[in-house]
């Protein structure tokens, strides 16, 4: 892996999604944030897995961004990529 590129992974519980349209909207909105490398939202597991640059985003800012969209976002313990 490129040593200059820093990436962390966080898993955020998201409540209030009911269809794939909600999932798509979150992926679009959060995916275009600065420092977000990748986002995967699961409707079944009600969570979002986000790979991000810790220099530009924190788990808190990401959780806030989802919360701002009108979904209940609960931060779980951030776990860095092994």
């Amino acid at each position: 892996m490129d040593p200059n590129m820093s990436a962390s992974c966080v898993n955020i519980s998201v409540e209030g999604m009911t269809c794939s349209s909600c999932v798509w909207t979150i992926e679009q909105q959060i995916g275009k944030l600065n420092g977000v490398h990748h986002i995967q939202v699961s409707l079944e597991e009600k969570n979002a897995t986000i790979i991000y640059d810790p220099k530009l985003q924190t788990p808190e800012t990401l959780q806030e961004a989802i919360d701002d969209m009108g979904f209940d976002a609960i931060l779980r313990n951030p776990h860095p990529i092994p």
């Binding site: 209030g16 909207t25 969209m69 979904f71």
Partner: protein, 89 residues
């Protein structure tokens, strides 16, 4: 003898402003499910000072508020949905 009454001729008083009547605005929001409308409900409640009705089948949100149309638009756009201002109601 006639009673003297000072009545301004022709000048009608300005209509009284009733503060309880708030402007109504209608927005079209591209909502597809309960989750979408719940998201709209949440962002509007966060803004505060609004009364609103959500018509999910017609994708319409009718808001009663002192906030400007721009402020309401910005708030609705936070949900990531396509939002257009229909007009006052």
């Amino acid at each position: 003898q006639q009673l003297e009454r000072s009545e301004p001729a022709g000048a009608s008083p300005p209509p009284p402003t009733v503060p309880s009547v708030m402007p109504k605005h209608e927005f079209s929001v591209d909502m597809t499910c309960e989750g979408c409308s719940n998201a709209v409900t949440r962002v509007l409640n966060k803004l505060g000072g609004v009364q609103f009705d959500i018509d999910l089948p017609n994708k319409k949100v009718c808001i009663d508020s002192e906030h400007s149309v721009d402020a309401l638009l910005e708030t609705l756009k936070k949900t990531g949905k396509t939002v257009t201002y229909v007009g006052p109601k």
